[in-house]
Symmetry: C2
Amino acid sequence: MEEFDRENVPSEEIDEETLFIVTQTFKALGDPTRVRILHLLFKKECSVNEIADTLDLRQSTVSHQLRFLKNLRLVKYRREGTTLFYSHDDEHVMRILEQMINHACHS
Amino acid sequence: MEEFDRENVPSEEIDEETLFIVTQTFKALGDPTRVRILHLLFKKECSVNEIADTLDLRQSTVSHQLRFLKNLRLVKYRREGTTLFYSHDDEHVMRILEQMINHACHS
DNA sequence: ATAATATATGAATAGATTATCATATATGCA
DNA sequence: TGCATATATGATAATCTATTCATATATTAT
């Protein structure tokens, strides 16, 4: 008879909640617009319009996608007057994104 | 005047081809069925029917998803008689998947 | 209070994605 | 050759997604 550490059993099926979070997060990274936004925020904090201008996207497109990313807590913002400055809010996911970018462009 | 190493400039927009590969790969990881399949293949090589039985999926569903994953070179297979044994084929992406699973279930 | 600016929201639509069924193909064996 | 088994494929329908336009909301300054 063997004992298992419940925190450390890689050999079982993923539980439903974890699966949901994992796939939602990867889904967020599976869209070009969102990846471009996140990659921009990796470098610096940006306002909505800055993002739209830099990436040549409509303001509403950016706003919709930022909401999506904020729901997943991948970005956060701070207000300064009427301007909202967005920045990334999940170091680990950002590291994963940069890893994948490096993987992709050195392959 | 400064010189840049073209291979090492994190501060620019991602080129289109890299963006495509990155988002395609994340898209692959953004679906519960594919994540369950990959997570299973992380542990061991499996035949199509084994995957279907283990994960309670239709054979054709598994086959379609395996084709998807194979197009992205995330899985490979070897034949033994009429049986095809699939296994993962991208260590880096598998590491990223396992990282995200750990991130998700310890959060 | 009004205007100007920044951002968010809702509805609509076009396009993509997924699972399923039915069937085709391929291999091994009697 | 013909049958059984394993896997692949094609078409379809249901669902989901991303973008767009139009408009609403919020903040600041006059």
